[in-house]
Amino acid sequence: MSGLSEAGGEALRLIAGADPRLLDIVLLSLRVSLSAVAIACLVGLPLGAAIGVSRFHGRRALIVVLNALMGLPPVVVGLLVYLLLSRAGPLGELGLLFTPAAMVFAQAILITPIIAALSRQVVEDAWAEYHEQLRSLGENRVGAAMTLLWDLRYSLVTIVLAGFGRAAAEVGAVMIVGGNIDGVTRVMTTAIALETSKGDLPLALGLGVVLLSIVLAINAAAYVVKESAERRTG
């Protein structure tokens, strides 16, 4: 276990030293993953809620597909986005390949199904409980979907965190579309992969400890906010 304690020491040294390069990597990781989460929420939450409150032909098939897409392999998403954004691809003219924007795009694709599928489930369960009351008050389905999203905000926090965790932890997609360019597109996970392949295991592990700490801190903060708000509003 000396490797782990060494890594812990390395992590402490990295943090204590406030290495500006490390800070850049951390900030870029957060920027990319949080942007991806924001986009995925804008698309995934309304989509999940809409499917949750509606009944249409092919709904079950759509849910199965959506659930399956939660398991999208990051490298496959990375490859698809790479093909889209590469010079010869349909979006090649945007010149986004190997930029943080491309990484945000890839991660958003990766986690939108997670947020949509999980929110679909909680909205559908709540709809079973609320639908008579909301229909009695004259609410239409679009309004009901929005009302339920707001009413379920505390449950949705956990779902959004699941999406963030997935985005912050994945390496395959950002590696392919970002290219792990030092100072431009290098994030925590690609840096860890690089240091591992170079054989600098303590640094790689140290970076891993930093990444875990950040994810833990964000989850803890969200949990505390959610709990106190929930206790206040029941």
């Binding site: 409980e129 008579e132 004259g138 239409n140 309004g143 206040r232 509003t233």
Partner: protein, 247 residues
């Protein structure tokens, strides 16, 4: 008593006509050919044994269910997409995770009440049910009885012409139930038609002007409340009142 509905411009919603309605679910005829006319005024209580179709009848009237056959006709039908002129209170109040006053103003928003009027009107409704002090409390932390009174305030704020109630006191203690009955009586006095399902015969005695007695999906008896309890015309109702039919 001054009617809240006196100023209404449009034609009255009532009377409501049910024309030989049938509701089939899972191969069972839950409502089996009921025809009746509900007029404004009298408090109509629907009683009958479990599985008689009371709650389903209420939902068919309110439009939450579509009859398999037959028709539900209002004197002047509500326009889809416009504010509703009828309301319903359920056995278990469904309240949103917002303040008590927020729950009422949400309903007012759906009723197309201008934003500037909503809070005042919501607070007025809360005052009428004795919840003005709880206006800012989260609705979900209120007691069961308070939650049901809030559901009634929400319905009352809409000034409905008809209020449907599906066993609104079934899960409440006698004191809370009494408060609910008082609110319903006040709403009735303010001009709202009351149509209520109950399995509590004491409550039906206290509240009813007329009784609809349902049995196995059929309207077996419709009678003035005093007469129904003293001298039921149908053998099913007589057995029900004697406690031989489960309720």
């Amino acid at each position: 008593m001054k009617s809240e509905l006196a100023m209404r411009e449009s034609k009255d919603l009532l009377p409501l006509r049910l024309e030989n309605i049938v509701f089939v679910a899972g191969g069972r005829r839950i409502i089996d050919g009921i025809s009746l006319v509900l007029d404004a005024g009298a408090r109509t209580l629907i009683v009958g044994p479990n599985g008689a179709g009371k709650s389903v009848l209420l939902r068919l009237c309110h439009g939450l269910l579509e009859p398999t056959a037959g028709a539900v006709r209002w004197n002047s039908a509500e326009t889809p997409g416009c504010a509703r002129r009828q309301a319903m209170v359920f056995q278990r109040p469904i309240l949103l995770r917002r303040s008590a006053v927020g729950n009422v103003s949400y309903a007012l928003k759906l009723a197309r009440i201008p934003r500037v009027q909503r809070i005042a009107r919501a607070r007025d409704a809360l005052r009428k049910v004795g919840l003005e002090a709880a206006a800012a409390y989260p609705a979900r932390v209120l007691s069961g009885g308070e939650q049901q009174r809030l559901a009634l305030a929400r319905a009352w704020s809409l000034r409905p012409e008809v209020l449907f109630l599906d066993e609104p006191t079934a899960s409440l203690d006698p004191r809370a139930a009494q408060e609910i009955e008082n609110v319903i009586a006040a709403m009735h006095a303010a001009g709202t038609k009351i149509v209520m399902v109950t399995h509590n015969l004491g409550q039906a005695r206290r509240m009813a002007d007329e009784i609809l007695f349902l049995h196995q999906g059929k309207l077996v008896e419709r009678a003035d409340a005093g007469r129904f309890f003293k001298d039921p015309a149908s053998p099913e109702a007589a057995r029900f009142l004697e406690g031989e039919l489960p309720w």
